[in-house]
Amino acid sequence: MIFALVDNVTRRYAMGWEGAIFQRVCIGLVGLLVLMLAGRVTWKRDCSILTGILWLIAGGILVTFSAIPQKVIEFVISTEYLNRIRVIMGLVSILVLYITFESIRRTHLQEKYALLWVVTALIILISVLFPDAVSLFRAVTGMEYATAIATVSFTFLVMVAFHFSISLSAMQTDHTKVAQRVAILEARLKKLEETIAGGNDNEKKLTGQS
């Protein structure tokens, strides 16, 4: 019943796709703008290449989206919706894996912090490749595929966020200690410099007298 309803709504939008010229042109123009800006910034090296590539991908998606012909839309909605989710989640997990890998490679991210991200992406990827594994989970918990994926992702994201809070606290403690030590050392250094300067002056006086 609900599925039929959802499908009706989807179908209505899909049928209207061809007529929605204005909206499609707008989306396409925004996409082109994003592409242009991202290309320019990346070319000038004002941002990291990774960020640039992500923005380029975003722009590309917008442009392609505006240019999708009616037939493709009809084909997509004719497929089973489970497969669509699998494709999207697969792309997302591959993207997460790629970004994590790239960040480690560029030493933006330490391996220990990356572990949770990699595990999250891998679990989603496994669930995409082997839907049967999820059906076991579903049999135990009674959750639908999409809900299960969302739950898993959400749980891991919360864990990652918590991990961040903890490492941030540890970092603040360390940074306090370092700052305090720097201040004490600086005071000592200044005193030492004064002592040395005083000693030199005395020597000069002595040699001047003799």
Partner: protein, 248 residues
């Protein structure tokens, strides 16, 4: 290091106190002569450090802003590492009158305790503040008195004198933001003792309070939470009064 002139050091945490620090330092020179003064510049944006240095104070220049707790702690650590027997802590905004420091010193000598606190509320009608802040301080004082088993009237006072064992403890363990009430509870658990002396505080001469109206709520909630969590921690015997007596 052997470059201390006195066995007591005066620690002044200062954040953007360029306007009031010079007169405060002069006043201290007059009231308690021949005492080393250390100004802790907590990452000020103005010329606090320069002015303090010109007025005869040692300056600990923190490279970034750590907040009151971090700034005071570096002072304690400095005092401990340089072999001072006592440290007097007083704020850089001129609220704590240097003329009252003698009271702290005398009480420390006669009572032989670890910490002497200058309290605004021990005598009647000395200090006026907003009612909401008074409520917060009163609630904190009642709770702290209960868990410390000592009467506390002014738990937020930053006008204090510490002896060497406590300097060591605080240079290892000190809360970061809004530290005074929590520090009291922590030191009591380790077996240190404190007492209060009545002190008349002045109106601040320049600058503004670090805690605004809504900050008071946050202050009280944060401190209560910290006090409760501290109760749930085991006592770290490494820093306890008996353990480090005679060692530092």
């Amino acid at each position: 290091m052997k470059n201390r002139r006195s066995n007591t050091v005066i620690l002044i945490p200062a954040f953007n106190e360029e306007a009031s620090i010079a007169s405060l330092l002069n006043e201290i020179h007059n009231c308690v002569p021949d005492t080393d003064i250390v100004v802790i510049n907590d990452g000020s944006a103005d010329r606090t450090a320069v002015v303090a240095g010109e007025n005869g104070a040692e300056v600990l220049d923190l490279p970034c802003n750590l907040g009151v707790g971090g700034a005071v702690q570096v002072g304690f650590r400095y005092a401990y590492e340089n072999g001072y027997e006592y440290a007097i802590r007083c704020d850089g905004d001129g609220q704590h009158p240097p003329s009252e420091m003698k009271n702290l010193v005398e009480t420390m000598k006669t009572r032989k305790t670890d910490l002497v606190i200058g309290s605004r509320f021990l005598e009647e009608g000395g200090y006026k503040s907003t009612w909401i802040r008074n409520c917060g301080i009163y609630g904190l004082a009642a709770f702290l008195s209960a868990i410390c088993r000592r009467k506390v009237t002014d738990p937020t006072s930053g006008f204090q004198m510490l002896n060497r064992p406590l300097l060591y403890f605080f240079s290892c363990v000190y809360p970061m933001d809004y530290p005074e009430p929590e520090a009291l509870a922590l030191m009591r658990r380790e077996g240190y003792d404190f007492c209060e002396v009545p002190t008349t505080f002045r109106e601040r001469t320049a600058g503004s309070s670090t805690i605004g109206r809504w900050g008071t709520f946050y202050y009280v909630v944060k401190v209560f939470l910290a006090l409760l969590v501290d109760r749930a921690r085991p006592v770290d015997l490494r820093y306890s009064r008996e353990n480090i007596a005679g060692k530092v």
